[in-house]
């Protein structure tokens, strides 16, 4: 994989785990080590099925953990899964419900459940300690054990003792100054900084990410600009820091195929501009490799005519070969080829 070469490497899947229904969440075992096959485990949740723990290499079902609605007896499918650091337990976030499972008790339900909110008005709602909606993002701060849970309703809740304690607080990112600048329509990722003070919040259909100072002020500190993530898909953000220093780097990918980074965005207030950006690919067709099918579709209307007029039919073959579009009809491929014409002509 690390060899030099002009052509893209062929990277085929080592294993493929089929599912009968859509898979809502997948996480890997925190002790995952390719050298030790017993640790190569993946946890996944799919609709109308128990949560499954499989080997990523052999696909063997190691254990299953049912999460059942006591009223309807239907399986609940979590939208967020998170292992604890030691791998002994995992958290599952679903509709206004946080469940904690003991991994050593296969076939059994959760050891504890926390309802984060109720639809009916309650005393919790009045005190700002309640939130409803699908829990879509989970993260535990390792030093304090505070769990941050984000919902698709744009709320973030903080819970003590890794989700087994009391609710510390709930806040909404809707209507904040950052929201007005970068937008968003549902929390897809929450990340604690390594120092445990800051919480980064990424949303779908957002042009950035928010930074909250949780430990000191409990307020919005700033936001990252220019992430280019106006899509319903989960575009992740990664926060890294150098050991022993306060420096923080935030990395994110955009729908335009660019990788962007922000250096120490926690040091300032308000909008933080991009510090570094680079194409995700440096090969023959940099733009093409990084483009998504969605983006190509967007480019069709205003780029199709010049190519047709100049009869660049070879591009059809090239695009077909490049995209492995065996499932597409020649007609569809023909119409898609002009969309990437400027790139192919580089």
């Amino acid at each position: 994989m690390l060899d030099e070469g002009r052509d893209p490497h062929e990277l085929t899947a080592y294993s493929t785990l089929p599912a009968a229904e859509s898979v809502n969440a997948v996480v890997t075992y925190p002790m995952f080590d390719l050298q030790d096959p017993s640790t190569t485990l993946i946890l996944s949740s799919q609709r109308d099925h128990p949560i499954r723990l499989n080997s990523a290499l052999t696909l063997q079902l190691v254990a299953s953990y049912p999460l059942v609605n006591p009223t309807t007896e239907a399986f609940i499918s979590p939208h967020a899964l998170l292992f604890t650091a030691d791998g002994s337990r995992f958290l599952a976030g679903s509709e206004s419900l946080l469940s904690i499972f003991d991994i050593s008790r296969p076939g059994e339900g959760p050891v504890s459940c926390l309802r984060t909110g109720r639809k009916r008005r309650s005393s919790l709602a009045v005190s700002g300690m309640s939130m409803t909606g699908i829990l879509s993002a989970l993260a535990i701060e390792q030093q304090s054990g505070i769990l941050a849970a984000g919902t698709l309703n744009r709320h973030v809740g903080l819970y003590d003792s890794g989700g087994q304690g009391d609710c510390v607080g709930v806040f909404c990112v809707d209507g904040t100054e950052a929201d007005l600048q970068i937008g968003g329509s549902g929390v897809t990722q929450v990340i604690w900084s390594s120092c445990g003070r800051y919480l980064y919040i990424a949303e779908r259909k957002s042009e950035g990410a928010m930074i909250y100072d949780i430990r000191k002020t409990g307020q919005l500190l700033g936001w990252l600009e220019g992430r280019k993530a106006l899509t319903n898909q989960r575009l992740g953000v990664h926060v890294s820091s150098s050991p022993g220093t306060a420096n923080q780097e935030v990395w994110a990918g955009g729908t335009d195929g660019m990788i962007r980074a922000w250096w120490n965005p926690h040091e300032g207030e308000g909008a933080q501009t991009v510090s570094f950006e680079q194409h995700g690919h440096n090969g023959i067709c940099p733009e093409l490799m990084a483009m998504s099918k969605v983006l190509i579709r967007w480019q069709l209307p205003y780029q199709v005519q010049p190519c047709i007029l100049q009869h660049r039919y070879w591009q059809v073959v090239r695009v077909l070969r490049y995209f492995r579009m065996s499932m597409m009809t020649p007609s569809e491929a023909f119409w898609m080829a002009p969309a990437v014409q400027p790139v192919l002509m580089l």
């Binding site: 990277l11 085929t12 080592y14 599912a19 997948v26 993946i42 990523a56």
Partner: protein
Amino acid sequence: MTNVLVRGTTTILGLLSGMLQDDDRAESLTFSRTPDGTSIITNSADNQVRTFIVYARLNPPYSATDEIVLQATRLAG
């Protein structure tokens, strides 16, 4: 270790393995690196979870930045 190459790497992997998306519906395709950094787990719209073994663990020292950029470049050739 990183989930940063979301669009870039996901798309590259998707192209190489024929996992083109049918639409842009929410949560149709996500991926994450394994904690040991050797593999990528993808979850795609065809209801399949795939494991890609990318490379053997790189020897230190590598900063997070080096590894991320290296990964992005090398995956694409």
